[in-house]
């Protein structure tokens, strides 16, 4: 009997109206311009696991992160949190408490005018979790220690800390409400590689100790391999492939996934001949017809231009590709 997933997206979509002002459109005889940031995504994150979403700029992964935590309402489809509609769930403070978010930019994610202890305590105060200041201070000290900082750091301001330390403060803030679900939007992308290692280790340790569920967004496949149970590869607002982590790396199936793997600089210098994929990511305002990847795909056929592929099982993965479905991909 499968447990209710912590987060589930059912054909979720989010569109943004980026039309020019009405008067200018009238003069230029233009229609509206809709940015389809997320264009029909279905996935489920089982409790206690990490699902990562990986992709290049414009693929919509950050938008999915915000949909997952309620910062955006879906334009279509559903977002379910622990079996309930997310918007409904978020109306109740004891449900909101269960979800938190960690952001990419360590410099903009902490209010520069607040002291660290107020930043970390904000969720505690907002949810009324502790009865008095004394208990609050003790909890803040505990959290700061948990993330590898000193309780005395609570009196300082964010600008007195480095990028890595600020991310730790963000993590402490996220943990202060005892959440079960954490959405991490590129939490280490702005950090140096040695600091990144510290933060990733910390996050993995916290997950195993506290049984957290992560939705992890990143553009870095190597990072994602280290933290994920399952990985979703996104392209132009859709999921190209969704697979268990090891399976994705051992047998990438979708042509875009393969292209991504090929593009990553080779630290091992095995001297393999690489064929970087040509072309650029098209604009999400005017995506190609049918399969969004077809203009750049070496296996594109006539069906790919006309018909948008759905996620279908292929081995232990789900792949949205006609070529894979038709068995045209000779691995």
């Amino acid at each position: 009997m499968a447990e209710t997933p912590m987060l589930e997206l059912r054909d979720a979509a989010r569109y943004f109206d980026v039309s020019r002002p009405a008067l200018q459109r009238l003069i230029a005889n233009e229609g509206k311009r809709i940015l389809r940031a997320v264009d029909g995504i279905s996935l489920a994150v089982p409790k206690g696991t990490t699902l990562s979403l990986v992709g290049e700029s414009g693929c919509g992964k950050s938008t999915v992160a915000r949909l997952a935590v309620g910062l955006y309402r879906p334009s279509a489809g559903q977002v379910m949190f622990d079996g309930r509609d997310l918007a409904e769930a978020r109306a109740a403070s004891d449900q909101r408490r269960r979800m938190q978010m960690i952001f990419q930019d360590p410099y903009a994610s902490l209010n520069p005018r607040w002291r660290v202890r107020d930043i970390v305590a904000e969720p505690i105060r907002a949810f009324g979790l502790l009865p008095n200041r004394g208990a609050e201070e003790a909890r803040v000290a505990e959290l700061l220690t948990q993330v590898g900082l000193s309780p005395l750091d609570g009196y300082k301001f964010p600008h007195e800390f480095s990028g890595g330390q600020r991310q730790r403060i963000s993590i402490a803030r996220a943990l202060s409400s005892n959440p079960e679900f954490l959405v991490c939007d590129e939490p280490t992308s702005a950090l140096d590689v040695s600091v990144q290692a510290q933060i990733l280790n910390l996050m993995k340790e916290l997950q195993s100790r506290m049984g957290l569920t992560y939705l992890f967004i990143s553009h870095n496949l190597a990072v994602v391999r280290q933290v994920s149970d399952r990985i979703g590869v996104m392209y132009l607002g859709r999921i190209a492939e969704l697979a268990p982590a090891e399976s994705l790396f051992r047998h990438p199936r979708h042509p875009y996934t393969r292209a991504l793997m090929e593009a990553i600089p080779d630290l091992d210098m095995t001297g393999r001949a690489r064929i970087p994929v040509g072309g650029e990511v098209p604009s999400p305002i005017t995506p190609p017809s049918g399969c969004a990847f077809h203009p750049r795909c070496p296996m594109a056929g006539p069906r790919c231009k006309a018909e948008r592929p759905e996620l279908k099982p292929a081995g232990d993965a789900m792949v949205a590709c006609h070529a894979v479905e038709e068995g045209r991909d000779a691995a």
């Binding site: 990419q104 903009a108 209010n111 969720p123």
Partner: protein, 304 residues
């Protein structure tokens, strides 16, 4: 307290202050004016509004360093025998009171509307900014004049006299709020998209709270600079209105009123009655403006 003081004197702000002789001089001048005005009842050698102490025989006495001057009237007397120096001190009091109140009013109104427009966006933003645009096409003194004139015409004379001070403050305040609103709106729109605001939204903090406790502290920097520069402008506006005879009531003359009174005698030789209040006005406004300039440069992270 001690720690905060120590931090202040250690800060970049204080350091840039001590580096600039002009700023330090302005601060001294401004301080003298402010203290002189504040403690006028205790510091002024005479009370120019105590009718009993006035001696008409002492009228039109020139400043004390001239031949006919007297030591007790340092800067001379006016047409009613009032000591000019004392009148200036009391007048500066009114000028400062009006200037500070009007600036405070404009700041509060402008910052509040700017926050709302910037954070909530949409139609409210469009409406408020159009109002700003329309108002900014008029010179601010004209706006103040307009409001003052309308109120004056609308109310019976006795009522108006009682509340004249508040009307002036209100008029000048209304004429200045767009500046604050626009700046705060721009900064708010930037801050609204930052991750720390989004973090608060994820927790579910209500928008008014976010605006007040998260956004406001981060947009106040430029507001401080504008307010300081605006203080000088407000004082000048009040002086202009009073000079034109439509400002503060005659019972509480400001520097502008004094300048007007003295203006009648300028060409008959009694120059001191108008010149000294004028110089004081210039000194006050100039020093406040220079302080504002320094503050703007000192708080600008790009210039540091």
């Amino acid at each position: 307290m001690a720690a905060t003081l120590r931090r202040f004197f250690d800060s970049d702000l204080w350091w840039s202050f001590t580096r600039s002789p002009i700023t330090m001089l302005s601060a001294v001048v401004a301080l003298i004016c402010i203290l002189g005005a504040l403690f006028a009842p205790w510091l002024a050698p005479h009370n120019p509004f105590d009718l009993a102490s006035l001696n008409l025989l002492d009228a039109f006495k020139p400043p004390s360093w001239t031949a006919e001057g007297e030591a007790q009237y340092l800067l001379g007397t006016d047409d009613q025998g009032r000591d000019v120096l004392s009148a200036i001190m009391y007048g500066a009091r009114v000028s400062l009171l009006v200037g500070l109140s009007a600036t405070l009013f404009a700041t509060t109104l402008g910052v509040t509307l700017g926050l709302l427009a910037g954070y909530l966006g949409g139609k409210l933003d469009a409406l408020l900014m159009r109002i700003c645009d329309i108002q900014l096409t008029f010179p601010s003194i004209l706006v103040a004049l307009l409001i003052d004139g309308v109120v004056r015409a609308a109310l019976p004379r006795e009522v108006h006299d009682q509340i004249a001070l508040f009307v002036v403050i209100f008029a000048i305040g209304i004429s200045e709020w767009p500046k604050f609103a626009r700046t705060v709106r721009g900064s708010t729109m930037v801050e609204r998209n930052k991750e720390y605001v989004q973090a608060a939204r994820v927790i579910g903090v209500a928008p008014p709270r976010i605006m007040l406790s998260h956004v406001l502290p981060n947009v106040m920097g430029p507001v401080l600079v504008i307010a300081t520069l605006n203080l000088g402008l407000a004082i000048l506006s009040e002086a202009t209105l009073s000079f034109l005879g439509v400002g503060v009531p005659a019972t509480q003359p400001s520097l502008g009123t004094l300048i007007r009174i003295g203006n009648d005698f300028l060409f008959s030789g009694e120059w001191w009655i108008t010149i000294f209040p004028g110089v004081t006005l210039i000194a006050m406004v100039l020093s406040v403006n220079l302080l504002g300039d320094w503050l703007r440069d000192a708080l600008n992270p790009k210039l540091r």
